[in-house]
Amino acid sequence: MSIIEINDLVKKYKKKKDTSNEYKLSIKNLVIERGKIFGLLGPNGSGKSTLIKLVLDLIFPDAGLITIFGISNKLKESRNFVGYLPENFSFPHDYSFEQAAYYFGIMNKYSKKEVISELSKLYVELELTSILGKRVKELSKGMIQNLGLVNALVGQKKLLILDEPFNGFDPIQKRRVMKYLSKQNEDNNLTILFTSHILSDVEVFCNQVALIKNGEILNVTSKKNVFNDYGTIENYYFKYFDITGETSINNNPSTTGNHPEFI
């Protein structure tokens, strides 16, 4: 069963810091199946965040159709079971951690009781009890990222859309979060679409990978296929993006791949 389906999507856009050039995102067809952890990889400005915003109807396409759970993303019902962690966000600075989580949690149209009980479980499972009571302005980048993640998770979500989710986490919390999300994926068939620049995170976390470059999807494949064909995610990535060859396998002692392209 497909959770997200994108057909003939076209979006022309300008970047905030580069208003002179026009960029184009064009996706003929992209399907994300239920239960997948789908990693979207690509260099800066390749259109990852734009694609996510298009899926959530935060920005509008020039052409094409996007459905979530079979419902057009234009309808609010399509977001009933979607959790979103943006790359940049903020919560009101005067709120405590749990106040912010609560006020944004009830926007999911769940009862006060349900939200509070779900939040209590999340605090324990993600080991956040020690930062409860702290004001948002006192929180570190990693703690705010935790708050963003809690906000995305609360409300019995079936699809998580995470834009650079592991930014700011220390290695222990990153491992904890990955473990929690993987468990949710296995136990509850939670589908996750996420973007990341950190190839090792993608290698550990996802089970399907898509490469995006200049607004076009270059390749979609399973992690298993990547390992069979390229040895590592890193090799796979550099196969498509390393134009100069400076960082290819021969110059990179950490990689172990043996694809003919790099020998």
Binding site: E77, F89, F104, M107, I161
Partner: protein, 239 residues
């Protein structure tokens, strides 16, 4: 979401400090002549200042601080977002106005021994008028700027320009006959907070015990285009 807007606005207002200030003023007022009139001038201005700050910080505040994507990724439609914001702001303004009405009633009660029930009608109308007149400015200004501070300053530049032009006898006698000046004055007058009208209503009720609903048509006229404009902008804007 409405609860979030109300909490966000109320927590940012030093209500306790204001309450103490006005209670002190209400007690002091008994000893001075013309003191009720001074309070009538001060109170609406204070409410309008706080109201402007509330309105101005709500929409651009949410957009500027990257909260909008967190909110719109929930099962909330953009029209719902606008309606809940408006209701949230309106509710906040009512809290301020109710607070102001109680202070004024207390002062009049201390001074004259009577209660002016008509006053509450003015305070019922005030937030609606204030909200929609300000929102009209906001919608226009938001097209060019998303800083809450600059919006706040701009609104008051408009207000004081209006006051200066309308109260300046030389300008009125010399310039008001020119169509351009007249046009500028009428535009400024229509887009600025109607502090003077609000104060006049209060004075008229207190002195003459009469209540004129002349503001109602302007409220209705401002509600319809403002709300429509907000819906259109909210549905077209990309975040």
């Amino acid at each position: 979401m409405m609860r979030f807007i109300i909490k966000e606005n109320i927590t940012k207002t030093p209500l306790i400090l204001l309450a103490l200030l006005f209670i002190f003023y209400a007690l002091m007022i008994q000893f001075f002549e013309g003191s009720i009139e001074i309070l009538i001038s001060v109170l609406p201005t204070a409410i309008i200042l706080m109201g402007t700050a509330t309105i101005v910080q709500t929409f651009p505040g949410i957009i500027k601080h990257d909260r909008i994507s967190l909110i719109l990724s929930k099962p909330i439609s953009r029209n719902e977002f606008v309606v809940q914001n408006l209701l949230g702001i309106l509710f906040t303004l009512y809290i301020y106005c109710l607070f102001g009405a109680v202070i004024l009633e207390l002062s009049i009660l201390f001074k004259t021994g009577q209660i002016q029930t008509d006053l509450f009608i003015v305070f019922v109308l005030c937030p609606i008028l204030l909200l929609f007149i300000h929102m009209l400015n906001m919608v226009v200004l938001l097209k060019f700027n998303d800083s809450a501070f600059i919006l706040f300053v701009l609104l008051y530049v408009f207000y004081f320009s209006d006051v200066l032009i309308n109260r300046n006898k030389y300008l009125q006698s010399a310039g008001i006959d020119y169509p351009t000046t007249r046009y500028i004055v009428s535009v400024l007058h229509s887009i600025t907070p109607q502090i003077q009208s609000f104060q006049n209503m209060l004075i008229s009720i207190i002195k003459n015990h009469s209540f004129d609903l002349y503001l109602l048509p302007s409220i209705i006229i401002s509600i319809i285009p403002t709300t429509l404009l907000l819906f259109i902008i909210a549905n077209k804007k990309e975040f």
